[in-house]
């Protein structure tokens, strides 16, 4: 009997949270009194691929040595597909993104130094360029690419 009651309670709780998630997914309405962290997991299971952009963007890390900025190959430290790197480097889980990017730059400085590339500064930059129908980097030209500095870590 206790197992039956427990199972039904579990089921009703699960259905309720799924309905809360559906309410937000379909109407952007949060059910009053239900804390978002309890719903977020259920919402995220039904909310992929909601929008698109007309430009491509990429997080770029650059290290300074011998009076020049050198591009650091991030795939050595983020061994994922291009899409996964793009999503991960948005750091969207964090409210204070700048401190996370600075920590990332500091970590990159240490890891690059361990590989024999000692940089006095590391800067993190977002590059953005218009999408092209011919390839991911086809629109990545000096004229069309905009750069926004995110953070810089100095030794």
């Amino acid at each position: 009997m206790i197992i039956r009651i427990f199972r039904q309670a579990l089921l009703l709780g699960y259905i309720f949270l799924t309905i809360c998630a559906l309410s937000y997914t379909l109407g952007r309405k949060q059910v009053p009194g239900v804390k978002w962290p309890f719903v977020t997991h259920f919402y995220a299971m039904m909310a992929p691929f909601q929008n698109y952009t007309t430009s491509n963007a990429e997080l770029v890390a650059e290290g300074y040595r011998n009076r020049t900025w050198e591009r650091i190959d991030l795939t050595n430290y983020l061994p994922h597909s291009r899409g996964e790197i793009a999503i991960r480097t948005r750091m969207s889980s964090f409210n204070d993104k700048k401190s996370i990017y600075t920590a990332m730059a500091e970590k990159l400085q240490t890891m690059e130094a361990a590989n024999g590339r000692v940089y006095s500064s590391i800067r993190i930059v977002w590059e953005k360029w218009p999408k092209s129908q011919y390839g991911f980097y086809e629109g990545h030209t000096p004229d069309d690419t905009t750069r926004s500095n995110v953070t810089q870590f100095n030794l």
Partner: protein, 308 residues
């Protein structure tokens, strides 16, 4: 209907509800789901082996996220581990997924894999914040409360002499939970597209096929230029996703099969045009929409045909 009949009606509805969600039935469906999901997750985790220290230890760029519901005393659990500890945790995850797949200590294996998947989510995967990682975690939790080791498992081999032999009927509850979740996932994903601003024209498809997820095939197609067919494509996607969650439950005619075929085409196209392959496991999971009795009868028919 008089007032006196209301309690009787409520009771009969409660019985129908309980029968649908929790009756005892054949163990075959959940046994196959366990083996398929276990093997898929084993592959999903095993391909990270060369990078495990960079991905989940102090050797890499790892930023954990403490969930808001986590007590302060337990926050140490999500500290980034040293490389050796990270490797040990990863090995435990692989062992748990292996034993889950082959059906050895099934519930315990699923529960360990669930706990470790939760750990990895907040350690690192939260930055990718994907639907499929969350679905995988839910499936592992469901498997840990199921008796999915009662068919096609080492446990059956030990108890009955063959992994294909079975004796115990099991609760249909885990199967229903999975079916319900898959339905809700397609339902939410599909219906929101009716009014999401991004999904009102072919531009969604056009620009997605030039973005970070695009495959070489997608770029090959976009290189031919814009066409109104992209509008048709977006409407087809919406139709598929609106039709699929309902069709799975309709046994009349061939509707269920058409729905499953639509799901297959939909996922294969996603895999071909976008590097988003993680949802492909949903295709074999459609088996949860067949009742265990139906599936068992089908297995008997197949085995009889083989013998004859």
């Amino acid at each position: 209907m008089t007032l006196l009949t209301i309690p009787l009606r409520l009771k009969s509805w409660a019985l129908v509800w309980e029968h649908w969600w929790t009756r005892k039935s054949y163990p075959h469906t959940m046994g196959i789901i366990r083996a398929a999901f276990g093997a898929w997750l084993l592959m999903y985790w095993a391909i990270r082996l060369p990078y495990i220290k960079i991905l989940f230890s102090t050797d890499g760029i790892v930023f954990p996220k403490i969930p808001t519901y986590m007590p302060e005393k337990l926050e140490w659990l999500l500290q980034v581990p040293s490389p050796n500890i990270a490797l040990a945790i990863y090995c435990l995850q692989l062992i748990a997924l292996t034993t889950l797949t082959i059906g050895l200590h099934t519930r315990l294996s699923a529960f360990i894999a669930f706990c470790l998947s939760w750990y990895y989510f907040y350690l690192s995967l939260h930055l990718f914040h994907t639907s499929f990682d969350r679905l995988y975690i839910l499936v592992l939790l469901v498997l840990s409360i199921s008796k999915a080791g009662e068919y096609l498992s080492i446990e059956c081999w030990e108890k009955y002499g063959s992994p294909l032999k079975w004796e115990k009927m099991v609760s249909i509850f885990p199967q229903r939970l999975l079916a319900f979740q898959i339905t809700m996932t397609y339902f939410g994903v599909g219906f929101q597209k009716l009014w999401l601003p991004g999904w009102q024209g072919g531009e969604m498809l056009w620009y997605s096929m030039m973005g970070v997820w695009a495959t070489p095939l997608a770029f090959k197609i976009t290189s031919y230029g814009w066409s109104d067919l992209y509008h048709v494509g977006v409407n087809m996607v919406k139709m598929f996703e609106l039709f699929i969650p309902f069709s799975f439950w309709i046994k009349k005619g061939k509707i269920r099969w058409i729905g499953m075929g639509s799901g297959l085409i939909f996922h294969v196209l996603i895999d071909l045009l976008l590097f988003i392959w993680w949802f492909a496991i949903l295709i074999p999971s459609y088996i949860v929409f067949f009742s265990p009795e139906e599936f068992h009868a089908w297995l008997i028919r197949v085995s009889k045909n083989r013998i004859s």
